[in-house]
Symmetry: D2
Subunit: 325 residues, 4 copies
């Protein structure tokens, strides 16, 4: 019996003490508890299309590795996934590039800076700190551009396959609005190009990058899509291998240290799960070996992460006694 | 039976597939595998006393939460624990300050900078990024100075109790050598004082801080001392509660995002354990719920972390299939 | 008689003690004295077209406000004036914009940074430090683009008029080479656009900017062209007013504090004249009220200023006892 | 006769056109013109002793190289000269150190930063940008400490000799208040020490440095004291040589590029004279070869320079047609 083996199986004892079976009711209670936070954050307004979202939306969905789906609130409403798409692009790149190819062009360290700062990028000679800040994600988009014939279509098909839902589309209004306000990202791309860390024309790469950001998905779709990260690289939905178990572990490590902008430490401290947020108000969080969580509330805190969303994850982590620490 | 509940108990299935029982032999094999790295790093030389260490030392010790001790190599040789002492000081402060008192004076975010950079400290108005960079550790030392009558003696007794070994001492030569080369840390302290984030006279606080760094401990002693972090706050050795289970979880979160200087991301990616390194070449790593690991090899990589030590942890993580991700 | 009034007319006494009449021989002697420096600097190589220049070229020309021309060495050879063109563009902008319009978009302070750093630009929200670093010059080019129908042609005609020489042309090879290596300048322009400090399409503005840099002129032509700065805004050549006397004074003040990249202080200390350098190895220097000097030697020092050229100016300043201090 | 030689003697023609004989009335008119600015700036309040000054004080004094003294307003009231003392210390150091000794420890470039920033100091390895920012002035104070047996007394005697007034004293209340708020300057000193650019104990050097800042002098005393800078190194008062003519010229160059904190460019543009300001509201300005000006008004602009004082200098420069450009 493995749970006699001593140091390996902490979960047994653990379970008996603090864990609670997940239900839709628990999720509803958590949403009720965080609802008073609505009105205390700020909807992202750097592009007009995002600013028009209904600010008091709130939803959550959990997919266990066994395939059970739990949800509450506006869990089936689509929203702009924004930076969460950076994980999808990195996952795609892992399939067509070697680790050395990837990690020579982008590093794996937290930035300690605002998500779109150019200062560090200049000091560190055009090599972005990690693939989840804009600069890093744009490098990954450049890599996809180089090796995929139709990266935008490929990303969409990838999401369709992972979510099992071919109704997911790019929100063209958002994509166009992003492109109209893309000067800073263009500056980032040109700066990397000046250091030799950018291969293609800037504008088409940005177009593709912004389309990823403009994917419109619901919490339920996101939980399904990212289930491979909780399940050793294998999609819980279709049981297909997306990346290797080792790659899934590595991706979770990256998410844990770099996934929440300049708030990764605080999120680890309070929630204790690898995760990725977007300025659309979505957060995806992973309990490796167990479940994938997606939460959504459009109002952001000062670090650009969903205010009510991160609180909901903190409560969920405490309620079901699950974190990686 | 909770381990039937599905998504909660990942460890069961997990165990059946990838885990291997730990033995002294496994540890010896790992040390043999990393030994070729000796000679490829740099012993810390910023103070003469550290530069004199024997560069080819190599040791590892593991204490499971069940109290089994495994070890290999120079696991009983004492060395300068240096920054590992920052965890001890923070643990002490958690007992005498509220979270709000602590986290208003030091943050919880990775710095994205060299461990002793003053730039960020100035830009962020004297509030250090986290308690494991020098500035943050000096703030914690300042807090201890304010509320403890004899902080240096208190720290020593704390280590004696945790390790069960009253032979542990401060290496006076190292402490004095640190103090002679303390200008940059004095600059850091004075800068924080200019922002109102420092309460005591600078030199006595630095004296105490450096004494912590000058603690001479072995891998075995370290594994015992830090076992409370793997065991929900309770010392595996004497079964006394050091901090609460929640605090232990939080400390592990801090270690995972900030414990390895500017290499936390890389360490998470390769090793996948919360950990804390010191420029003496020691690293302590935690598998929450399972075991505490201490490794030592004096030669450092360019980020100031033990070169062979971090490789040994990477191999161990792979061999026994344990990480937090 | 005002020159008896005491404090006004320092020059009288001054003249009797230290000054020496300028001659072609003095200029030749100075060139001989600096010639040993040839071989100790570095020809600019960031674009291939510049790297091909003959490294041991050396020339100087002086035009007095009375219209006397002195020259020595390769004073009639054309070379790429590069950043010296920034003064021409700023002069043009002074004719079509009010001071408030100009100085709200670019400041007047030394940067304390490398000429093409983006860090300061981000920290200071897209407002460049001064019109002689790249960012500032690109803003000025953007302003010209907005209000001139054919800025490139206008600049050329302006230079023809000032130099009295319609053979001056843009070196198309250099301009094309600059454009091929324009990524960093594009990054700068897009960053300013992201802060709302850029009005036109980036590429056409850069094209015009680079054409200015690619003007091919000789020392003699430069001394004639910039004579208005020494002569209260009036061209010594054609006696036409280019800018007002106050504007000329202001331009000299800008040149004295910001004209020599990150070496303005050293240049003031050694030479004591307002001046502007270019990475083609040219430097124009002004003795207000007296003369305009142009010197050329392609090898640069570590700050990007002509090594032999700035030494020649230092010697000239000492020999004829003229500086602004 | 050299003043016939053409390009040397710009002053002749110049005089006939724009200059006006200086009188006390002109100075009074200028003060009346700037008086409306009183109330629009901020008295320095970083130390309590400075904050207590009467905010609406306004005075000006001019000493010509012929020894004529003009003055208006509160020109004989003593005030804290603060950073103006940096020029005195540098002058003293020029007498006991070679240029190489001085300029290897401090540079001559504008900082492009706030006067007490540590960022640049860290990036540039403990070598301050120039002797007029705090870091540079503290290095100079360290040099004086090394070679003078009683630097504080020496400075006082130096000022007595230059001003011809032995009633000038250190304001002990200000000096003590500075010392109480010296943390940031201590941080700067320790940081330089960590880079090997500081030789003595920090606190005694700071004590001396702050005493210089705490010199209490009037505009009249300042104009007399600094007359050597306008007069080729020779005191107008006692006709003794303080520094060489070349050194005076170099000092003026340093003042022109670095003397007004992060506003040297603006000051050159508007006033066109080498100058040095202090947060006590004083500014000393030099017209080389002609006169020394001191102005005082305690309220500062956002760059830390006297608001009404710098405006008065701008008006004076325009009225008498004198600037270096």
């Amino acid at each position: 019996m493995y749970h006699h083996a001593g140091f390996f199986c902490r979960t047994i004892m653990h379970c008996e003490v603090t864990q609670m079976k997940l239900t839709n009711e628990i999720l509803s209670e958590i949403l009720d508890e965080v609802r008073p936070l609505l009105g205390q954050g700020q909807v992202a307004d750097y592009i007009p299309a995002l600013a028009q979202v209904q600010a008091d939306k709130l939803g959550i969905a959990v997919l266990t590795n066994e395939g059970e789906l739990f949800q509450a609130g506006d869990a089936e409403d689509g929203f702009s996934i924004q930076s969460i798409s950076k994980v999808l692009n990195l996952t795609l790149s892992m399939g067509i590039y070697t680790p050395d190819e990837i990690w020579s062009r982008v590093r794996k360290e937290p930035s300690g800076q605002a998500f779109n700062s150019m200062i560090q990028l200049e000091v560190e000679h055009g090599i972005p700190r990690n693939p989840f800040i804009n600069a890093g994600a744009i490098v990954v988009a450049d890599m996809l551009q180089t090796r995929l014939s139709a990266p935008r279509q490929r990303l969409l098909e990838f999401v369709w396959a992972l979510s099992g839902d071919t109704h997911i589309v790019y929100d063209k209004v958002v994509a166009r609005s992003e492109m109209k306000h893309s000067d800073r990202n263009a500056a980032i791309a040109y700066l990397m190009r000046s250091f030799g860390n950018f291969e293609n024309h800037v504008l088409p790469v940005l177009e593709n990058y912004f389309h990823g950001c403009a994917l419109k998905m619901s919490c339920v779709q996101l939980a399904k899509t990212f289930s491979y990260l909780a399940n050793q690289g294998v999609s819980v939905l279709n049981h297909k291998s997306v990346i290797t178990a080792v790659q899934a572990k590595q991706m979770n490590a990256l998410l844990a240290t770099c996934g929440l902008y300049d708030e990764a430490g605080e999120f680890a401290y309070r929630v204790g799960m690898p995760g990725k947020s977007g300025v659309g108000g979505g957060i995806v969080a992973i309990v490796p070996g167990e479940m994938t969580i997606a939460v959504w509330s459009p109002e952001l805190n000062s670090s650009g992460n969903s205010l009510a969303g991160s609180k909901a994850l903190e409560l969920l982590s405490g309620r079901i006694g699950r974190s990686i620490f």
